[in-house]
Amino acid sequence: MSILINKSSKVLVQGITGREGAYHAEKMLEYGTQVIAGSTPGKGGQVFSALGKTIPVYNSVSEAKAAHPDLDATIIFVPPAAAADATLEAAHAGIPLIVNIAEGMPVLDMMKVVKELKSLPNVRLIGGNCPGLITPGECKLGIMPASTFKAGRVGMISRSGTLTYEASAMLAAADIGCSTVVGIGGDPMIGTTFIDLLPMFNDDPNTDAVVMIGEIGGADEEQAAEWIAKNMKKPVIAFISGRTAPKGKRMGHAGALIMGNVGTAESKLEAMAKANVPVADTMEEIIVLTKKALGL
């Protein structure tokens, strides 16, 4: 078991005929992900061939969904200017899980998407500006390097792509695997955040502990801490990056920005302390704390 995706998840790739879409579609297939359809406006009727498989390409998500009513998820490879539209297209076509990896979407676009998705409660958006998610050994719905992930019983939620890979690799090196790893993205407005995923891991019988990798900016970690204090039955280990970043400067991620007194590392560390969530001071310490939590 796992959350959100597993070996039977049927996946659509939006923008499959583009360079990035084609590359990652192949990588996902290689991992074993059931990519069963692709879409690109104007390229309907073509086929996408990789690893001996031929996957039909549709002009729209609606048409793909009509031909494959069992589609569970989609991953979007379009330029940031088109990402909001592609997301809404998938949402209105009734795809329950949408991964948007686009980096550099206008904030207003994402605000409107998030607002509109509130009226579509059966649709979950992961991202933008994220690596996607992976249930190791079963399904990779993203652009992460497959080799760093090992199957196991630790859930992971992260605002950073590379730190996700880093932490997963370290866990794997310590022979600890993951149930599902979700890169939620580094933008200030994202479709899914800690507080949306913690309850799923809490209820997932195959997850024993959760690692959450946060960073400066916003108050998502604080909200998560509050939820954990009240509801979480499983151990959570936290990491916060950007502790030494100055105020008012955007640290790579559009979301990693301290504005006034909002989004500081101090605030996040304090919230975690209050919720009795151990915080790793270094990446290495994540492994130490996770082992401890698992009784290893």
Partner: protein, 376 residues
């Protein structure tokens, strides 16, 4: 992209928001001519991308054209928090009865813009937020429907603003229209002035535009001022790097924002301080790494360099090749410590084995080493 006050006011005026008459002067003579034309009290305001101009002496009232000349002369060339004043706004002074605050900020908690309104205008709103949060009325805007007049009126009422309610609401709606229409991430009118004759006017304004949305606002490109940015930031942007100049002495290069942020933290943890944040992005080739090293080496503040790469899509051997090229071209003239993990790390080690570059298995060890070397 930050707009200057005069640019923000131009933008607001194009959305029907009343602003005082004003023009830009680059010389005292120009300031005098403008004041002469207005034949009224004017305010001479430094146009620099930094807060606290007033306290720094960058805003002065001029009683006539000659006075405007003198005040402009005093302000032009002034240094405000490290920025040289190259132009001033010469604006008609307004008769202030009340000064309010009205701002739209991107608020992650509400996943939209929050309209903030306060009777405490003309002062730093962050200070008001810190010392007297109850003095700020907040309203989360529906990003699809936008701000409507009836909502704006109610917020003005809730905030206790006095003055013509319809005009105040119209200004708020105008601010929203300008904000949404130009993809701003911040749009403030501070102070929103009620004049002694009951007019409602935006006496000062601040607007930041979402860089990700500039592609749909070619008309705003004219507002960009390359000179206002740090020269290394300008160069980094040309390479497509995510780069931030910081005030320490260790140049930090890595792939992925989270990893670079964590590298800064580790540098600090071992007693150093980062001179920059530089994210080379995913899948970088040798050339990109070479350019990153070259850029960081140009910074005279840098006494040592930490390269921290987790190879996923990025290949460690490509990183090594880039560093070797910089070394061989004599560009890399500072102590360097590398930590490389993941894809093709063996190949990288092989390439680097005879080179005077130290590779460490963890970022902590690499950071410790370079901080120590830089201190020598």
């Amino acid at each position: 992209m930050k707009l200057h006050e005069y640019q923000a006011k131009e933008l607001l005026a194009s959305y029907g928001v009343p602003v005082p008459a004003g023009k830009i002067a680059r010389t005292p003579e120009e300031a005098k001519a403008i004041a002469n034309e207005y034949a009224s009290l004017t305010v001479i305001k430094a146009q620099v991308h930094v807060g606290g101009r007033g306290k720094a002496g960058g805003v002065k009232l001029a009683k006539d054209a000659n006075d405007a000349f003198e005040k402009a002369q005093a302000i032009l060339g002034m240094d405000i928090k490290g920025l040289t004043v190259k132009k001033v706004l010469v604006a008609k002074a307004v008769d202030i009865a009340k000064e309010y605050y009205c701002g739209l900020i991107h608020d992650r908690n509400v996943q939209s813009f929050t309209l903030m309104v306060s009777k405490e205008g003309g002062v730093d709103i962050e200070e008001v937020a810190a010392t007297n949060p109850a003095a700020i009325t907040r309203f989360a805007i529906d990003p699809i429907k936008g701000l409507r007049a009836f909502e704006a009126r109610q917020i003005a009422l809730d905030a206790g603003l006095e003055g013509n309610l319809n005009k105040i609401a119209a200004m708020m709606v105008g601010l929203w229209n300008a904000c949404a229409g130009s993809d701003a991430t911040l749009a403030e009118i501070n102070p929103l002035v009620i004049t002694t004759t009951g007019e409602v006017i935006a006496a000062d304004a601040k607007i930041d535009i979402d860089d990700n949305a500039m592609y749909r606002h070619p008309e705003l490109e004219a507002y960009r001022e390359v000179e206002a940015e740090h020269p290394l930031e300008v160069e980094a942007k040309a390479f497509g790097f995510s780069y931030v100049k910081l005030d320490g002495h260790i140049g930090v290069i890595g792939n992925g924002a989270g990893l670079v942020m964590t590298s800064l933290d580790v540098v600090s943890r071992v007693g150093g301080k980062a001179a920059n944040f530089l994210d080379i992005g995913g899948g970088a080739k040798a050339e990109i790494v070479y350019n990153a090293v070259k850029l960081v080496c140009k910074d005279p503040d840098v006494k040592g360099i930490l390269i921290n790469i987790f190879g996923g899509i990025t290949r460690a051997d490509e990183v090594a090749k880039g560093v070797i090229r910089a070394l061989e071209e004599g560009i890399l003239n500072k102590p360097l410590a590398m930590r490389v993990a993941g894809t093709a790390v063996a190949e990288a080690n092989e390439l680097l084995k005879d080179k005077p570059i130290n590779i460490y298995p963890t970022m902590m060890e690499a950071a410790t080493a370079v901080v120590k070397e830089a201190a020598q």
